[in-house]
């Protein structure tokens, strides 16, 4: 499991020692794709508008709508105008200068693996390249372009959500630094889809620039990877599948922030405080952020994945032989499942190379203590001991943990705590989450009635969810063993088959919550078994699974990892059982109210269940499993039809202890 990973180099170090201006004006001559025919932004648009693909759709749409093809072409040109990037070196240089200043204020270091960048350079030379960074912050894509500029690599064009367009000046700036803008939803709009997919494909095929987009579709507010979106991946794989290029390199990039800029923002959003609309002025308000210390960023450029090797003996490419390739066709089941599996593989590749900081492990311990309603807090030396134990465990499970081994563990712990001092409270050598402080201006004299218990709970939840977002960074390391541990915990016997069944149930239940590739239950079970046996927690023979003496601690920890989710899903089931009529829109506010009630009465321990992310995932899982049915169309559009029998039985199974 332990993988050899590349070393990091801090790119801010040079920025602190030499002129930013000179850096911004440096000679920039990136290596380009060997098959590139250079072309201008305007030529690119012409190529799209004149492509057979788009031409076909234009004719189709003009017939359907009774418009002339010129009119439809006009519409297409307008869509393209709204969408297209206008990458300009001067804007990039402007960003290179400004971002240098900003980054140096915000971060201690920005570390990148230079070997990965060398591999990327090779890949860019040989094949069209798709960059797939993880998405945790607005910062991500500026950061990516900044790094590529620094290393003299070809600047990417980036698929960005339309919401950025709202920010007048910034939107245009981003456009000029390579962003192109896509509407969030364009479901049935054939023309939009055709313009968009052709635009992306032409840039990719011609090697115009690496194409960058976020597999997860949006920023993950929880720091867990999101279930990958397939649309764009499908588009960029298409030129290979249809033989238009020999191969395409997909490069997963893992960006890990020691402290996320959006930390509290995300927590509020998950709790139902609506997210502020992206606006230029809003961004400048974020200036107070500039005064804080956000630690370091690690950016790991993963091994390029060849689409050709992914597809080998998986996809029969001759299925495209019988229809002209410019006619849009719905991808076959075979292709969809191939793209889906590839997407999961790539997200896992991102997860694998995420750098974890010691604080992530501390978050596990502190959250578990908090849920155990340990009001005393944890003694520093106990916290250190637990963290060291977790450090070793996570390393065994293959975590890419940056724990400075040359420093005594106690110092590692205290320096981590100090970076995240907003979230923890240390008094008399004991540490706990800073739940009371968050209410802020609580003057002792003031009456507590000014703040309702509900408000207090939500204030606490902001801290909890911020903390959860750090713990979540390591969840992917533990998830498979944790599912196994919970299955062992609930199973009535030691029989392997029974445990497997339990594992399979839980895995299925939580496949909207974690990155668990559909259809890979057996592999995941084997992986979990392998890890637990390797670390001596389990002994497994043909028939039975036995916990060893020293395994109890590991299993107890792993069970507690999954516990908030188990209880969360259970409470969602309970809620639905008690409801009669509910629409999808009403679901989140109603379930939140229900959960708050349960938390206040002490029937539920985990405040993190207030996260709307968990609630949405639970609902999606229940819909997938058929316990809830979403009515589409008609008067009852959006109504949830509830299968009470099934919900009850799921709740029981989840609650079996």
């Amino acid at each position: 499991m332990l993988k050899k990973r590349d070393d990091f180099e801090d790119i801010l170090e040079e920025r602190r020692n030499s002129s930013d201006l000179r850096y911004a004006l440096k000679c920039y001559t990136p290596v380009l794709y060997k098959g590139l025919t250079p072309c201008k932004v305007s030529e690119l648009k012409q190529m799209v508008l004149q492509s057979d693909q788009l031409g076909y759709v234009i004719t189709q749409v003009s017939k359907e709508k009774g418009m002339t093809t010129d009119e439809v072409t006009g519409e297409a040109a307008a869509i393209l105008e709204e969408m297209a990037q206008r990458l300009q070196l001067s804007t990039v240089r402007f960003f290179a200068f400004t971002l240098s200043k900003v980054f140096k204020t915000l971060f201690r270091s920005i570390c990148v693996n230079e070997e990965g960048l060398q591999r990327l350079q090779q890949a860019i030379h040989n094949h069209p390249v798709v960059l797939l960074p993880s998405h945790r912050s607005y910062m991500d894509f500026l950061l990516m372009s900044y790094i590529l500029y620094t290393y003299d690599l070809a600047l990417p064009v980036i698929a960005a959500g339309m919401d950025f367009m709202g920010m007048k000046v910034v939107g245009e700036m981003l456009r000029m630094s390579g962003a192109f803008f896509i509407r969030r939803s364009f479901g049935g709009d054939k023309l939009y889809w055709a313009v968009f997919s052709e635009y992306v494909k032409i840039m990719l095929k011609n090697g115009y620039a690496p194409v960058e987009f976020f597999l997860e579709g949006t920023r993950s507010r929880t720091a867990k990877s999101l279930t990958p979106k397939l649309g764009l991946l499908n588009i960029v794989m298409d030129p290979f599948l249809k033989g238009e290029v020999f191969d395409i390199s997909l490069v997963p990039v893992s960006i890990s922030y020691e402290r996320t800029l959006e930390e509290a923002l995300y927590a509020r959003e998950l709790l139902g405080v609506p997210k502020p609309k992206e606006s230029t002025s809003g961004l400048f308000k974020a200036r107070k952020i500039l005064s804080e210390d956000y630690g370091s960023i690690h950016v790991y450029f993963g091994q390029p994945v060849s689409v050709r090797s992914l597809a080998e003996s998986r996809v029969n490419r001759s299925q495209f032989n019988l229809i002209p390739r410019h006619i849009p066709t719905r991808p076959s089941e075979e292709i969809l499942s191939f793209v889906n599996d590839s997407a999961y593989r790539l997200v896992r590749a991102q997860e694998e190379n995420m750098v974890l900081k010691p604080w992530v492990l501390l978050a596990f311990v502190l959250l578990q203590k908090q849920a155990a309603e340990d009001k005393q807090g944890t003694a520093l030396d106990e916290l250190t001991e637990q963290a060291v134990w977790l450090r070793d465990l996570s390393r065994h499970y293959g975590a890419f943990l940056h724990w400075p081994d040359h420093i005594p563990p106690s110092e590692v712990v205290s320096s981590s705590l100090s970076l995240h001092r907003g979230l923890v409270r240390i008094s008399e050598g004991r540490v706990q989450l800073a739940l009371e402080q968050v209410g802020g201006q609580q003057v002792p004299g003031e009456t507590r009635s000014a703040i309702t218990p509900e408000e207090e709970l939500l204030n606490q939840a902001v801290v909890i969810l911020s903390c959860v977002s750090y713990r979540n960074q390591a969840l992917n390391i533990f998830i498979r063993p944790a599912l196994l541990a919970s299955a062992i915990h609930t199973a009535a016997s030691n029989r392997k088959q029974e445990i497997y069944n339990g594992f399979s149930f839980l895995r299925n239940m939580f496949s909207n919550e974690f990155i668990l590739c559909p259809g890979a239950t057996v592999q995941d079970f084997e992986e979990a078994c392998y890890l637990l046996v390797k670390t001596g927690a389990l002994q497994i023979n043909q028939q039975e699974v036995l916990i060893t003496e020293r395994g109890h601690r590991t299993l107890a920890f792993l069970t507690s990892v999954l516990d908030p989710f188990l209880q969360g899903y259970q409470v969602v089931c309970r809620f639905l059982c008690e409801e009669d009529c509910l629409t999808e829109k009403q679901f989140i506010p109603a379930v939140r109210k229900f959960i708050i009630k349960h938390l206040l009465t002490g029937r539920l321990r985990y405040i993190e269940v207030l996260s709307s992310d968990l609630q949405k995932n639970a609902l999606a899982a229940l819909i997938r499993l058929g316990a809830v049915q979403k009515i589409k169309g008609g008067e009852e559009q959006g109504t949830l039809k509830l299968n009470k029998v099934m919900l009850n039985s799921l709740e029981d199974t989840l609650g079996k202890k």
């Binding site: 033989g243 020999f246 191969d247 001759s318 032989n321």
Partner: protein, 623 residues
Amino acid sequence: MSGFSDNIMRLSGRMLSQYPAQRDWDGKLTRAPHPGIIPTCSIVTLSDNLPKQEIMKWNGWGYSDSKFLYNKKGQAEFTGKRYRLSGMIIPGLREWMESTFGANLQHKTPAAPILNSSAVQPPTLNEAFLKELKSTGIPFSHDAEDRVFRSHGHCLHEIFALREGKIGRVPDLVVWPNCHNDVVKIVELACKHNVCLMPYGGGTSVSSALECPPEETRSIVSLDTSQMNRILWIDEKNLTAHVEAGIVGQDLERLLNESGYCTGHEPDSMEFSSLGGWVATRASGMKKNIYGNIEDLVVHIKMVTPQGVIEKSCQGPRMSTGPDVHHFIMGSEGTLGVVTEVTMKIRPMPEYQKYGSVVFPNFEMGVACLREVARQRCAPASIRLMDNEQFKFGHALKPQVSSIFTSFLDGLKKFYITKFKGFDPNRLCVATLLFEGDREKVLQHEKQVYDIAAKFGGLAAGEDNGQRGYMLTFVIAYLRDLGMDYYVIGESFETSVPWDRVLDICRNVKARIVRECKDKGVQFPPLSTCRVTQTYDAGACVYFYFAFNYRGLSDPVHVYEQVEHAAREEILANGGSLSHHHGVGKLRKEWMRETISSVGMGMLKSVKDYVDPNNIFGNRNLL
């Protein structure tokens, strides 16, 4: 044999009459042999069944007297007198071989010089069959050399094994029927005594079609059609000729030329391949744009099968009488019977012939030009587009120039194209053209084609380049033997593909070859090149050449086969066909089902089951 009319022209053995004059200076043609081949007075008179291995190599391509070698000065030279290139020094070849393959004159891999008869397994003879065969008087032989000669085609692995003196399963007996009736007798006897028959024409197969199935336990009899080589009649009213199927391409053309006609069917193998072989593999000729492919040329076919003789009752030019039974025969690859006689269309010889060539700045423009030519349906007799690597290869094969003036002119041309016109010498590519017909029409046609080419950035590059391009077709097979003397192995393979995929397939297959070579441990970058050799309304035929230096590999042939296999997979994945004209044989059998569907396979199988239930024609090709 006695019933034939007066206009039977008997080709007595291999005695070839002196070829008449060639093209004069302005392209006027009196008699039109092929550009590469210099007709020579043949040395050998083939008596009744003198085996043709006397004048042919037993372990390489073509005539024994013609081959490439490096002379004492280390210069490449082509020996013999048969070809335009014969007797010439080719100064650029050595450097090209060294730089393209990393080959070296010091590292030789010579072939076994003579056939070691003791390496050949003794024949498994069916005595009863043999006894009855003797009584018919049809010549036969079980001499080791005769048998080995007919045990293979020209796939790389076949020739490589021969050069190493490795002999696998070979036919047990060779028979030389002299006419249709002889074949009927042989097939009857084979059925009666359950021996396996394998028809043999020119032996130029590149699909493992002639390989004896190792699992065959019966006696295998090679049925050599070479003695059935007469034109039985010519019908000038209908412009048809009735010909015995064993006749070899160049003889057929020459004999028809004597009467002022031609078939115009000129596959690259026409020096050696036979009419029967063309029918059995669905052959295609270089000048198909004027004359058509074999299926367009054939009017009537006679084939002897275990169920009897199949033929149509009339020679109507087109019929609506159910599925055309000719199409069961064409492409049957010797699995159903022996084609004995064919009535073919003939044409008056063209009055005028002119070569030409066009240089394009890159392959993409070249393909676009060919597509436009096809769209306007104005393709010349032949139009071929070579990629940049092949252009360079063609350049390397330029013989030593005779005068300073020519070399000066060459330099000037090069300067004009690369410097003045700005063509990148590493990207430009060249199309070769052949026009045929009335002088006036040819010139008109030529202008039309050059005008189209100009729209795609094409520059006329002279007749010489064109003519040399076609000459290469004939000598390239000899070149492989030279390569094999110096650790270089290679092969060509072909496909047909819709127009919109031509560029994609060329790029992807070439890249796949390079990648597979690397993955399989080939130490030197391979030669991976292609050309578009035929244009159709809806697509084109693409030819790939692939060769590499195998020094350092323990099993080069296996590596070669893996790469070729991968290349074929790539062709199929990119919308190319399994074969345009080489056929399936045993080499490409594994892809037949996906190519023609299970139902299609069932249809072919049921025909085979009816026509040949005991698998007498047991070469196991195709299905």
